[in-house]
Symmetry: C2
Subunit: 93 residues, 2 copies
């Protein structure tokens, strides 16, 4: 199963802390390809574990996390324009 | 063909202007679902036209635009966590 995860974490209510933790959890399970975008090949149990870790950090009213799932990576093609930010270790770490 | 477009536009070099124009172009062709994330059903000629309009605004060294394509929407499932930002008209307009 191939997954693309995008998040938009609000700054309010200690958002920086939420963002830092959400970033770290996503990075544990997926590949960081752009500012708040991750992708990767995973399986249902890995995905369930990642979501379980993420939930406490997502503010239901302020934040937005979207997970796209495709059964096979080959059903998805990817085009890059501009610079390729894949897995550039950002200042969160 | 189903498309997910994510962008990360740097603030440097008049980034706000680039971001405003990239946002408007994406919004013309796709659905705005989160901060810098768009999706939608489209066709090759529409996609080519969108990319042609986008290119002049993407700074090759500073910005990143990624387009994921799936031949069919049904090959992609989507999960929302937190608030649903789909097509909330943002302050760019």
């Amino acid at each position: 199963m191939y997954v693309i995860l995008v998040y938009d974490i609000a700054e309010e209510e200690n958002g920086t802390r939420r963002q830092r933790n959400i970033f770290k959890i996503c990075k544990k399970y997926l590949i960081h390809i752009q500012n708040s975008v991750f992708e990767g090949d995973t399986n249902p149990s890995h995905l369930a574990r990642m979501k379980k870790e993420l939930m406490p950090w997502i503010d239901k009213n302020l934040d937005s996390v979207i997970i796209f799932k495709s059964r096979e990576e080959r059903w998805l093609t990817k085009e890059f324009y501009g610079k390729d930010e894949s897995d550039v270790t950002s200042n969160f770490l």
